[in-house]
Amino acid sequence: MTTAIEVENLQKTFTGKRVVRALDGVSFAVPEGTVFGLLGPNGSGKTTAVRILTTILRADGGSARVLGHDVWKKAALVRTLIGLAGQYAAVDENLTGRENLQMVGSLNHLPRAFVVTRAVELLDQFNLTDAGDRPLKTYSGGMRRRLDLAAALVARPTVLFLDEPTTGLDPQSRNDLWEVIEQLVGGGTTVLLTTQYLEEADRLASTLAVIDHGRVIAEGTPESMKADLGATVLEVGLTSIEDAERTGAILDTLGTHQALTTGTLVELTVDDGPQAAMSGLRALDAAGITPQSFNLREPSLDDVFLSLTGHRTEGQATDGDEGGNEDQSPRRRRRKRRIEQLEEAMPMATGEFS
């Protein structure tokens, strides 16, 4: 199988007010026609990797190739082969959906007749035909993301980059978008997807790399990762810290890893949820402990981190923290963007102006 994306020892440091090593020797390879998930918290280097691979940003060291072409030396060629959609690759709010697609087509130097037909086809495929001639200002968050994805597909790219495609979407829109992405993959497109959601990576990607502080800390299939992790998380809330500590000690034997006690909350990853729940309740009852809450839930990125690194993802609370209102709050978006844009002061000589 040919390799569609090849990244070796990629390095990128941003020097601004604060020096940030965004990528600290990242390597991975994505076989053609597969979906590769880059999973990590905010600021882990996912977006930087995507920006380098899509020729927007120049790496400090290492190499990055798309379909065998160096993304910097052959940037003009690479741009004809790729599509980019996601959190920052925006669409134009003042244009209609159709105008946006046609503009991207023209800028891809595709023949006019093709662009017109292709726009119709994509609007139909993404269920946007009715909204096609309305300005994007009137679109919902989910519609906008669908159009964003459609715009990335105008030129029928061989390799598609999706940077946090569903961050900030409600569950229904997220599900819709996942279905669309799954269809694409059925069509043979190679996809590199970044996400903060384990669920998303699990659903879409055939291979995963977990990235933290600019390094790949784990790689494998979602199945192998979940097998390492335990399929389910058992969460027990207690009324006192002493109870929590005792509970942690009692439950330790049931999990795939040591139980984690934070204040009055005990978390444990287990293979068989219901079985562990029954045994856990019995053991707690025998010890005379009454839990205040008792839940089984899907593991999150946070749990992956916990099991891989022994610490939680830094600088952020639970999964979805940044997500919820990304589209609604420009200030938050801007702040987030500013953080990611420490490179502003970076000299970046683009090879060819004009």
Binding site: R51, T54, T55, I56, L57, A76, L77, R79, T80, I82, L84, Q87, Y88, A89, A90, V91, D92, E93, N94, L95, E99, M103, V104, S106, L107, N108, H109, L110, P111, F114, T117, R118, E121, D124, Q125, P135, A151, R156, R334, R337, R338, Q341, E343, E344, M346, P347, M348, A349, T350, E352, F353, S354
Partner: protein
């Protein structure tokens, strides 16, 4: 879901074929695409439409009927004196929109998408400045009509009038490149706007645009007479209502040459700086 499939184009456009001619061809075609996009935006953002039409009209009426009575001009009626000044002031203010537009595109991530497309790198700046140039043509037409309605009477003939319009458009185009630098340096569009006006205010108001130069203190007259904005106002005034209206005793040719030299010098400085800023800004 559709069942139709469009066959992928057989690169009739050869997007990455090299050669100066083909690069130039794509630069022109991409510039036109983005010019169209930027002009469509003007028609769809109420604020942009307001700045392009209502605000200039308000300025004409304000100076004509409110301040005009208090300002004394010798050689020409105040409305004839004023209109060329208002034209230049309006396009100068309008050039701030170049900075706002670029800052907004950067902020929203549209330029990020452009950078990942196989398009001409220069088209983003060229498309923006070209759109602003075309918008200025429209603005001047609107203002000419409004000016005529309130008593503006050009005295030098159609060709001379059009030459004056040409001088204004060239000057505004040079300013657009200057404000492109501001827009590319600002963290967001609001800041771009705030950064732009302190640059444009002294130039437009310490000038020959609204009041006769002779009414200013002598230490201010030197700057007010020869700064780029003023020489352009004087050139337009000479071309539209005759050189006597400038009240300076200079000929039309003198002001036209002065204005063209300034415009050329500003373009020579601003264009390379803007391109450099665009390349380094990520």
């Amino acid at each position: 879901m559709t069942t139709t499939t469009v066959v992928a184009p057989t690169v009739s456009g050869a997007p990455h074929s090299s050669g100066v001619m083909s690069n130039l061809r794509w630069l022109v075609s991409d510039t036109l695409t983005l010019t169209r996009r930027n002009l469509l935006a003007v028609t769809r953002i109420p604020e942009a439409l307001f700045f392009s039409t209502v605000q200039p009209i308000m300025f004409v009426l304000l100076f004509r009927y409110v301040f005009g009575g208090a300002i004394h001009t010798d050689a020409a009626s105040y409305v004839n004196y004023l209109l060329p000044g208002i034209f230049v002031q309006t396009v100068a203010f309008g050039s701030v929109s170049t900075s706002i537009g670029l800052a907004e595109d950067l902020q929203k991530g549209i330029i990020e998408r452009f950078r990942a497309l196989p398009m001409s790198r220069g088209a983003v700046l060229l498309g923006r400045t070209t759109a602003d140039l075309i918008r200025n043509v429209f603005v001047i037409v609107v203002m000419t009509v409004v000016g005529m309605l309130v008593g503006f009477r050009p005295t030098t003939g159609v060709l001379s009038y059009l030459a004056g319009v040409g001088i204004i458009l060239l000057f505004a185009y040079a300013l657009s490149w200057g404000f492109a630098i501001v827009g590319l340096s600002a963290p967001n569009s609001e800041t771009a706007q705030v950064m732009s006006f302190p640059l444009i205010f002294p130039l437009t108001f310490i000038s020959a645009a609204f009041v006769p130069l002779s009414s200013m203190p002598s230490w201010l007259q030197g700057f007010a007479t020869y700064q780029p904005f003023s020489v352009t106002v004087s050139a337009c005034r000479s071309l539209m209502v005759g050189p006597a209206a400038t009240g300076t005793g200079r000929s039309t040719e003198f002001w036209v040459v002065q204005s063209l030299l300034w415009t050329f010098a500003l373009l020579c400085v601003f264009i390379p700086l803007a391109i450099r800023r665009y390349r380094t800004r990520t």
